[in-house]
């Protein structure tokens, strides 16, 4: 009798406990963050710095463990998340424009953006178009006018593969400026932005396309002239002198955002928890400090907008890639 009573009591308690956790998800124990790159890359930085701030803000119960899973420009991690981690609500995966670019160009075979949950961005690095100090071009308009005359007039160097984000930024700007025959625009792909800038400064290639933080060193030394930044408004601090493309009448915006997705089949509560956690993180002073120390610019679409932003970016990139004949 006594035993049966206690069992019933325990059962009631258990029901009550499950009920509370069903109403409001909270992570328990260790949270994992997959950085789809080797240690030291951008995604690795995203995981580690966000992990630290989540811990500092007590948004996670214990630590956030960063797991490096390099391969196929994020494809290995994406495939892992889709096929092995569905329903896992204690997992974040770092992503950026590189991820959406590859998804748009079907570089992850048999996978698309709907197979995961996109939860939010925590900042961005904006695209720039720059020339060497000795270049005849002084504004983006002049550069684009030359390209309207002849799409092969200006040769671009960037740090991504052909069809990658650095190449796409040129196309976004050229399309907005009304340059025709986009596939004719020469784009030279280098291993990274640094190599590409060296070639532009050495006078071998006409213009550089990359992210604004990459240009800092050569901007300070005066070797490089940044014609335009592809952001909605002027950036703060050292970069405030750089005009936006919009100011020059060319409506081109190119944020290389940093953010996260989580696996599919996760409860709405858990999904909402992570969306809110990123909101809290983004608003915190700790994160503002991280952004300032690492040259990250403001970029944080509202919680519901982020998913549609990602989808929109993917479809834009798809159109551009079709324009240049990279995909059919």
């Amino acid at each position: 009798m006594f035993v049966a009573k206690s069992i019933r009591w325990v059962a009631t308690a258990a029901v009550a406990l499950t009920a509370t956790s069903a109403f409001a998800f909270e992570p328990t124990g260790k949270v994992e963050c997959i950085a789809p790159s080797d240690p030291g890359g951008g995604w690795d930085f995203t995981c580690r710095s966000v992990g630290n701030v989540l811990e500092a803000l007590d948004l996670v119960p214990a630590s956030v463990q960063t797991i490096n899973m390099a391969g196929a420009g994020g494809g290995v991690a994406f495939a892992h998340t889709v096929s092995k981690r569905a329903g896992d609500d204690q997992l974040l995966v770092a992503a950026s424009t590189a991820t959406t670019t590859r998804l748009a160009q079907q570089q992850f075979p048999g996978m698309d953006a709907d197979m995961v949950n996109w939860i939010g961005a925590v900042g961005a690095d904006y695209g720039v178009i720059a020339v060497s100090q000795a270049s005849p071009y002084h504004t983006l308009t002049e550069l684009m006018d030359a390209m309207k005359e002849d799409p092969r007039a200006v040769k671009f160097a960037g740090g991504s593969a052909n069809g990658g984000w650095d190449h796409l930024k040129v196309l976004i700007a050229a399309k907005a400026a009304g340059v025709e025959n986009l596939p004719r625009i020469p784009y030279l792909s280098y291993n990274n932005g640094g190599e590409a800038m060296t070639q532009v400064i050495g006078g071998h290639v006409d213009a550089f396309t990359g992210d604004v933080t990459e240009t800092q060193g050569f901007l300070n030394s005066g070797d490089l002239r940044v014609l335009a930044v592809l952001s909605e408004e002027r950036l703060a601090g050292d970069f405030s002198d750089i005009p936006t493309a919009r100011e020059q009448g060319i409506d081109a915006v190119g944020p290389n955002w940093r953010g996260f997705y989580i696996p599919a089949d996760v409860d709405d509560d858990a999904r909402q928890y992570w969306v809110d956690a990123l909101d809290t993180l983004y608003a915190s002073d700790e994160w503002k400090q991280v952004m300032q120390n690492n040259g990250l610019m403001p970029f944080h679409p509202g919680s519901q907008e982020f998913e549609s932003f990602v989808k929109q970016q993917i479809s834009d990139i798809q159109t551009l890639s079709q324009d240049i004949g990279l995909i059919r």
Binding site: G41, G163, N192, G203
Partner: protein
């Protein structure tokens, strides 16, 4: 003046306790690896790369350790040359000629000491040369456009076989294998996948580090299993050292000449340390003439090649650091390490990673003093370790390789890949196909392709851009000379080397 400022910055990095410690470890292990017959500096560095990743070292610390291994291996090569008449590595071959006869005359300790001093002088001269030349060349590197780079890569491939290479056909085949492997992965210039067969792990191409560790370290293990060479080798006892200042004075002009000459040989891409030690020995023999007794244990015959090959090894760092084009197999391995640390060699590195570059250069100087100290009083320790059977050493090497590769990417796929490369390396070595050109092909192939296509894009398809500047014409000329010289001069030189070696063995 600016150079001095950077150098002091470099010493700040090199003299940090952690970096000093890893430099010392690197020097010690390097000497050991160099001394073991068959394990050359390229293998040595390849084996220790995983260790650097396992320990999670900072980029500068990792690179300091590996350059110390490199320098140490160049020192260590002489020990087995002198005591066993088996060169620890190819560049140490010339040291056998007079080193072993000296040892047989009961002057092993003197031979070891003289060669250590000569190695020290050669390294010192070449490091000073590196300090003076590298910043100049780094600034000059801005004038290298795609066409010039392409010519430079052709030059590197043309001089690949080097003068001491045995079979040019096999060298060519090895380079072609490297080039084939290098085509796997995304093609940067079109953004399409090549030879990836929808296997996600292949999308970014084959990781150099995995290929290097597999080809060198794992194949070494397979060779060992096959030979079961458990026992140590019999060797000459080392006598107590009796060396006076007069004898050191006698080799001084030799080391000076040979160090400079070795440095120049090292700076030329592809030529490398073997050439350095060969030409310095030959030249020294000519200069000294009949007064010497070369081939019968002349101390100058020990000093010249040692100063030469150590000079060349530091010289080979110049094109590697400034242009990203390795001057030898080992610098190719170091380059792969840099690339996987996300550091691009070239003019950018001297401004953007100044602390790293100058830290490594300063560490070379510091390491050189460490090596001199290690190699004179402690030479007995190395001699003892030489008699340790490899059955204890190689399992450790294998363990380090597996843990290290896994710690880079946490992927078992990479481990299988490494084993596959090990088996491939074993087969190639059985066929006497050299492995260094495979690595160079793998490393330089994509760069060469990229620069050719960039040159074509810039010129709108006009091939004449490739010889459009004075610089590229100069590079093409050197490449042609580099290609023809071994064919004409090589057989003659090799015959003489063989003859010289044969006479000492009689």
């Amino acid at each position: 003046m600016e150079t001095l400022h950077y150098l002091s910055l470099g010493f700040g990095v090199a003299l940090q306790p952690e970096n000093l410690m890893f430099a010392l470890i690197g020097c010690f292990i390097g000497t050991l690896i160099g001394a073991l017959p068959g394990l050359g500096p390229a293998n040595g560095v390849a084996i220790l790369i995983p260790l650097a990743f396992t320990l999670g070292l900072q980029p500068e610390t990792a690179l300091i350790m590996l350059t110390a291994v490199y320098a140490g291996a160049m020192y260590g090569g002489r020990i087995s040359s002198i005591l066993l008449n088996i060169p620890g590595d190819e560049p140490a071959m010339m040291t056998c000629l007079d080193g072993y006869p000296m040892a047989r005359k009961g002057k092993a300790a003197e031979a070891l000491a003289i060669s250590a001093i000569a190695s020290f002088m050669g390294s010192l001269i070449a490091t000073i040369g590196l300090i003076l030349l590298a910043p100049l060349l780094a600034r000059f590197a801005l004038t290298f456009g795609p066409a010039e780079y392409f010519a430079l890569f052709v030059l590197a491939f043309a001089t690949l076989g080097g003068i001491t290479g045995k079979n040019p056909m096999k060298t060519l085949m090895a380079a072609a294998i490297g080039l084939i492997i290098a085509t796997v992965g995304i093609d940067l210039s079109t953004g399409t996948q090549r030879y990836t067969f929808d296997v996600l792990e292949l999308y970014e191409g084959v990781d150099f580090i995995i290929a290097i560790v597999g080809l060198f370290a794992i194949s070494e293990l397979l060779f060992f299993i096959e030979e079961k060479a458990g026992a140590g080798r019999g060797m000459i006892k080392v006598n107590p050292l009796k060396l006076n200042w007069r004898e050191i004075g006698m080799i001084f002009p030799t080391t000076l000449r040979s160090g400079v000459l070795g440095f120049i040989a090292g700076v030329l891409p592809g030529a490398g340390a073997s050439l350095g030690s060969f030409i310095t020995y030959t030249l020294e023999k000519k200069i000294v003439g009949k007064k010497g007794y070369f081939g019968e244990g002349d101390p100058r015959g020990v000093a010249a090649p040692e100063a030469g090959n150590n000079g060349a090894s530091s010289g080979a760092l110049v094109p590697m650091l400034t242009l990203g084009v390795p001057g030898s197999g080992t610098t190719a391995v170091l380059l792969a390490m840099l690339v996987s640390l996300n550091i691009t060699p070239g003019p950018m590195m001297f401004t953007q990673n100044a602390d790293l570059v100058w830290g490594v250069i300063a560490a070379l100087l510091v390491g050189n003093f460490m090596l001199l100290l290690l190699n004179i009083p402690l030479v007995g320790v190395f001699v003892k370790i030489l008699s340790v059977p490899p059955m204890y050493l190689l399992p450790i090497v294998t363990m380090v390789a597996f843990v290290g590769i896994y710690s880079i990417s946490h992927s078992t796929f990479d481990l299988y890949f490494m084993i596959a490369f090990g088996v491939g390396g074993y087969i190639l070595r059985k066929l006497e196909i050299p492995l260094v050109p495979v690595i160079l092909g793998l490393l330089l192939g994509p760069e060469m392709e990229k620069n050719l296509r960039h040159a074509m894009q810039i010129s709108d398809g006009d091939w004449s851009i490739l010889w459009g500047s004075g610089l590229s014409i100069g590079l093409w000329l050197v490449a042609i000379i580099g290609l023809l010289l071994p064919v004409i001069v090589g057989p003659i030189l090799r015959r003489r080397m063989q003859a010289a070696k044969a006479t000492t063995q009689d």
